[in-house]
Symmetry: C2
Subunit: 373 residues, 2 copies
């Protein structure tokens, strides 16, 4: 593995859309007891069910700490690869590399990671194990790796259409805890030079109370070039209403890198999901302080789906909108099967949500060369 | 990765000779301060020099602990792969899988490992991280894995000719610290059923004072079918003399699996290498006790060479026999380049030997299918 100090775009590389072919998917086995309830067993089950679906059409690699390796290997299907790797938590979207390609070769980008805000408003300390994962994953995946650790970015804060357009939020990328020394223009320049995009559409804020400072991947996602889903509520009393309305207006008044207008599909939000007293009893403290408080609203959203080669896998909350979300996404991804992540006995999205994110946050696609797929 | 409970030989698999084509080689970054002198820096340099040579003709994967990953990555060439993996020490020969093939597929064998003798006369405690490495390596190498953890065996205690014959020592395989509940016949049966051999040649003892209970790979090795090198001394006052003479007699009176007589090439021993007071000052204690004592004889031997696709890489001790050993092995491996492991400024074998083994002990070949090579 070569560590590259150049800019990916200058080398002819770009980031394809998530709906382009993948050669694989990376996840991290959950373990933090202050992130995952009741020792993490429910989260494990959710991860395993998700991995089973993804692995129907993609090669899945799961990174497990030394302490967790045997259990991960035991719980996962044989055709899933488990590799030992240290981590602070389990958000592959944000700590695994962002893969880029020039059509002939795949490379990874190793962004700086500071637990969503570092000493300003980060969610845990330290985060060094997470920050070191991206290049280890590149080495295992046999790709060279761009060293971009001087720029703080999480994969969950960007979406691309693969045709020159990037979607992100100001709330996140202009947050004080990431790259406060850089202007918006400098951040734009960095994104363009590393991801091979030429147009950035800046939404304002992400999902209400999203502790990642409003990651794009919880509120808005490309479903095709010039086509997005946007998390939506018609309830004017919900603080989400203003946020979504503002973003809708931005999207409706934007064109993409190719000059196209954006078609926006509204994806209804589930009813608010709150942390309960019982949830709190199942979560360890972090440095003596609770990580959740009863009554806190969690950043639940159907937009946090993962697009695998064969499926679109969607969070389900036991909500009246669960089926509707699946239906809408099925109509938007006609060549894939849209599935809600649940079992006969359990709705699994909440078990992931309690950790602070959902399906998209715990996955990272490895893009395919055409010949791989 | 499938964990298999069957016998490899029943499945049509066998262990090829080390001089068969390899697809790669595995090593473990050195770290134990009670094994490797002066914080391990000299050992690192020796490992790096060795890896540079091996990687000229094989894909090298180095397993490094979380704590060592960054330094390993920094010190090693780009084309060498570094993967995070926990380990107790750095003897890939003994803890990495033994690879077997049926000509179409590669599989690994995960033997039980107990640090060369467990609670009887093992060299460190605990050894659980080492014992868990083999199947992790299989998962990374994309091979299924035979679970043979109920049988204690180190790769350094066996050599095969790839044509049905296995070489080992009674001192090691019949030692009390390994499989004391099994008879010699039961051990033979296990070796035949897992390695696809039909004839076992039992030498008596290994190199004098070899703390592995006399591993075969320090005293005798196949250089071709029906052809071996044997560590030799003409000094009748050296305790090694009787050991080598006894083994010579066994070899000269043996036939291999195909009924052939064995041609024995004597490989001269270096002059005895002793631990010095200065060596001891550079080694941490283990559980409060020194791991070496001044005046202790180390198990130096030229037989502990590694056969890569392109080279035969041989320990060098600054001894009058250094060049002779290289010459003999060059004549026996005419299609490979025989090289002594050293730099302009340093003889590197002693830096590895102080840890208790040498070049062969710290390497494990990954065999190639014909199409891989």
């Amino acid at each position: 593995m070569k560590i590259l100090k150049t800019n990916a775009a200058d080398d002819g590389f770009y980031m394809p859309a998530e709906f382009s072919p993948h050669s694989g998917c990376i996840l991290i086995w959950p373990h933090r007891r202050d992130s995952w309830q009741n020792g993490g067993y429910a989260a494990r089950r959710a991860f395993v069910e998700l991995i089973k679906i993804i692995s129907l059409s993609e090669r899945v690699t799961v990174c497990a700490r030394y302490e967790d390796y045997d259990e991960a290997r035991r719980c996962l299907p044989d055709h899933v690869r488990v590799v030992e790797m240290s981590s602070d938590d389990s958000w592959a979207r944000d700590v695994a590399p962002t893969f880029v390609t020039n059509g002939k070769e795949i490379r990874g980008i190793d962004w700086g990671f500071n637990a969503w805000g570092g000493l300003e408003d980060g969610l845990y300390f330290p985060w060094d194990k997470d920050n070191k994962m991206a290049r280890k994953i590149c080495d295992i995946m046999d790709t060279d790796c761009y060293d971009c650790r001087d720029f703080i970015l999480e994969g969950g804060s960007i979406h691309t259409d693969g045709e020159g357009t990037l979607l992100t939020t100001e709330e996140c990328l202009l947050s004080k805890g990431r790259n406060p020394h850089m202007t918006k223009e400098e951040i734009e320049h960095k994104l363009c030079s590393m991801l091979g995009v030429s147009k950035i559409i800046w939404l304002k804020r992400g999902i209400y109370n999203d502790e990642t400072n409003g990651h794009i991947d919880n509120i808005c996602a490309f479903t095709a070039p010039a086509e997005v889903v946007l998390a939506w509520t018609d309830d004017e009393n919900d603080p989400q209403y203003e946020i979504s309305k503002e973003n809708l207006s931005i999207l409706e008044n934007s064109t993409d890198a190719k000059g196209r207008r954006i078609t926006v599909h509204k994806l209804p939000q589930p009813s608010p999901v709150y942390v309960t007293e019982n949830d709190c009893l199942g979560l360890d403290n972090m440095n003596g302080e609770p990580t959740r408080t009863a009554g806190e609203r969690l950043a639940a959203s159907y937009v946090n789906f993962y697009i695998s080669n064969g499926h679109v896998i969607i969070p389900q909350f036991g909500d009246k909108n669960d089926e509707k979300a699946v239906e809408i996404l099925q109509s938007l991804f006609p060549t894939r099967k849209a599935v809600g992540l649940k079992t006969e006995n359990a709705l699994l999205a909440r078990d992931i949500l309690i950790g602070g994110g959902n399906i998209h946050c715990i996955t990272q696609q490895v893009i395919a060369l055409n010949s791989d797929h």
